[in-house]
Amino acid sequence: MSGRGVARAGRLGRAHVFRWVSFAIVGAYFLAPLLASARYSFLGSHGRLSASAYVRAFGTGELWSSLGRSTEIGVGTVAVTLTMLFGTSLWVNLRAQRWRPLVDAITLVPLVVPVVVVVLGILGTLSFLPGCILRTPVILVLEYVVLAMPYTYRIIDNGVRALDLRTLVDAARSLGASWRQVITGALLPNMRVSLMSAGFLCFAFVLGEYVMASLLSFNTFPVWLQLMGQNHSTEAVALSVIALVGASLVLVTVSFFILRKPKGAGTERMEHMERVELAGERLDAVA
């Protein structure tokens, strides 16, 4: 190996080491509390290793009912968010660009105003709705849509703006597509990543939101978990561990299967670059 090759390998090697070290540190930051919680859930306050906390936690019927309620609310929130915000973003970007600053400002309001104020404000505004909405988790869905809006709208809007919207819409329309076909055939397939990200963000938000649900006295999963934690701390911790692990698995699965790039997207170019790099290294080695 020539001197150049050795130096190059050294540089690459150092980069690798640095990468793994950072990964280890950040990983530890996230894993340490998880491991500590897991340890506690197995040992309990008695200090004896057992899985009884898990057994007891899963035994209670309330776990499943509260989880189910949270899931329902989550799904509802995702559905309303994606429909409403995607539609808004399309409208702003296609027809009403002058309104963009105003719409952006509105979507950021929940970020600035305290949560409790937002909740009560929404309740007050929607007080005209019949009891079949107000006294059911539907009100929570509406609240969550608003509370998550600063984040979800930003994600969706960025996704829309990354498209050459005007041209794609015009092209699809001139080929004979109705508006429904334009959206489903030309726009949505190119919005996969944004919509998925917004959706998952929304869902995670709902599953973790405590304040509003408890204020409005709904027994969602976080509310029930908090209640559990007051009396049965080990079980609560066990459930938290499970929730975290479960969420991570879901995310990994999603990113692996659903969010991977379509066939050929960029990979050919990447392979070509890799080949060039390798050839360069090999040349160095031979020289």
Binding site: D170, A171, R173, S174, L175, G176, A177, G264
Partner: protein
């Protein structure tokens, strides 16, 4: 159920009557806020014809296309397709294929998928779609690339796919919105011919919008020149080039020289020492043709008063009949209508001085004078000429261009006039020739009043290209003569507003 839909899809090379539609646009008017994009626009496109709409940005040509496609609404006017009023028909029902400037392919589909998109909407079966899409991709020369995604294709290839996609639905009209603007020059000329070939093979009526005159002139059956929402002139490419109806058309299509002249005698204009009769025009149209006559003969000229300059705003208010002796005028003439020849003795003496070589061509500089002693303006005598320098570039071939470059004493270029390939054209200088200095009057846009002050002593330089055979004769010190072949396109009063 599928049978009638399948029947709609024909082999690409068969010219069905469906694609030979006739388009009529009547009195189109469209404003965006206070901007009038279209102002009473009329156009007819015959069956199977390719019409190019040519014009600068903001002339409204894209708006015409979008109105025809149904992507833009109309304030007033009608759109007729084969005699049927489709003004209020939504875009997705009009059955028009459109090719956009760039990035119009659906990124999530392959080339084949893109081309079949329209067919899928029409309910064709998968195998039918695939077959037809493959045929069309073959037609545009991209058969092997059917499985590639848009980001894996070059710009030229993407536009070919866009063309195939537009043709897949067997449209009645093909609309092309500057499809070549985003491509590099070499690809542009290749694809331009491809588009024309395909259009003729399929026999489809087409509207092609561009700001590139070369594109328009080379592929269209007819060319329409637009300015500010109005169609200035429409005709075959040679008609537009040789018989422009307005000075704007003359200057936008091909290069035009604006030579300064002055009215001398009654009904005569002196330009570069040549006397030309002023003839009143008939309704602003060209009354004579550009004839390759004997050099030195002055033919009839089209006279326009008022805003004769391109984008000329404001006028002195004088009409041709009011032009008195001494009125400065601009003579607009095509480069190939001016001849610079070595001539030891002539009335219009030009001295050649200096020279340098430019890329195998020779640049010869000279000075042109009209032969008679320069007179102050307003004297009323004949021969009120002016001085200028002549620069000749020799080329192999009879290409001739003429222009005026204005230099100051330090040799910096202060402005140009006329047309020289590669030179910028902005305006001409009013002439005011006196013996002591060579001042130039207030200039047009590009040269502000204070730059072109008499004190600066700006000189006019006439640039001409001559055949290589002659250039050898034109050595410093030799005399050349300038003569006009044929007639100028227009004569306009220079007191009118600046040329934009």
């Amino acid at each position: 159920m599928p049978s009638h839909k399948v029947a709609q899809v024909n082999a690409p090379s068969a010219s069905s009557s469906r694609s030979r539609a006739r388009v009529e646009l009547r009195g189109l008017g469209r404003s965006f806020g206070s901007v009038k994009a279209l102002d009473g626009f009329d156009l007819e496109i015959g069956p199977g014809e390719l019409v190019a709409l040519l014009g600068p940005s903001g002339s409204g040509k894209t708006t015409v296309l979008r109105v025809l496609a149904g992507l833009e609404g109309l304030d007033k006017g009608q759109v007729l397709l084969d005699g049927v009023d489709i003004t209020h028909m939504p875009a997705f029902r009009r059955g028009m294929g459109m090719v956009f400037q760039a990035y119009s392919l659906f990124p999530n589909m392959t080339a084949l998928g893109n081309v079949s998109f329209g067919l899928k909407l029409r309910g064709l079966s998968r195998s039918e779609r695939s077959k037809r899409a493959s045929e069309l991709l073959e037609l545009v020369g991209l058969g092997p690339e059917a499985g590639r995604y848009p980001h894996q294709l070059s710009g030229g290839q993407q536009q070919r796919v866009a063309l195939a996609r537009a043709l897949a639905i067997e449209p009645r009209v093909l609309l092309l919105d500057e499809p070549l603007s985003a491509l590099d020059a070499r690809v542009r000329s290749q694809l331009r011919d491809e588009i024309r070939r395909v259009q003729q093979e399929v026999g489809i009526t087409a509207l092609f919008v561009t700001h590139d005159q070369e594109e328009a002139l080379s592929i269209a059956d007819r060319v329409g020149v637009m300015r500010s929402g109005v169609l200035e002139q429409i005709g075959s490419p040679s008609e537009i080039y040789e018989h422009p109806e307005t000075a704007f058309v003359a200057e936008f299509v091909g290069s035009v020289n604006r030579l300064p002249g002055v009215v001398v005698e009654n009904g005569k204009v002196s330009v570069l020492g040549t006397l030309m009769p002023l003839e009143k025009s008939v309704g602003g149209r060209a009354t004579s043709s550009a004839v390759q006559g004997a050099s030195g003969t002055a033919g009839a000229a089209v006279v326009t008063g008022g805003a004769g300059g391109a984008g000329g705003s404001g006028s002195s208010g004088m009409t041709p009949s009011q032009w008195t002796i001494g009125t400065p005028v601009d003579v607009l003439v095509r480069a190939e209508a001016v001849s610079v020849t070595p001539k030891p003795e002539s009335d219009h003496r030009a001295e050649v001085a200096g020279g340098n070589g430019v890329d195998g061509a020779e640049v010869v500089r000279g000075r042109v004078s009209t032969g008679t002693a320069p007179r102050a303006r307003g004297d009323g005598a004949s021969g009120g000429g002016c001085e200028g320098r002549i620069t000749s570039r020799a080329f192999l071939g009879p290409v001739l261009r003429l222009g005026i470059v204005v230099n100051d004493r330090d040799g910096n270029v202060r402005g140009h006039a006329g047309g020289l390939a590669g030179a910028e054209v902005s305006g001409s200088e009013a002439e005011d020739c006196s013996a002591s200095s060579r001042p130039v009057g207030p200039g047009h846009s590009g040269i502000s009043g204070k730059e072109a002050s008499p004190d600066r002593g700006l000189e006019r330089e006439i640039v001409a290209m001559v055949p290589a055979a002659q250039s050898g004769v034109m050595v410093p010190g030799s005399q050349v003569s300038i003569s006009f072949l044929g007639t100028p396109l227009f004569i306009t009063s220079r007191a009118d507003g600046p040329r934009s």
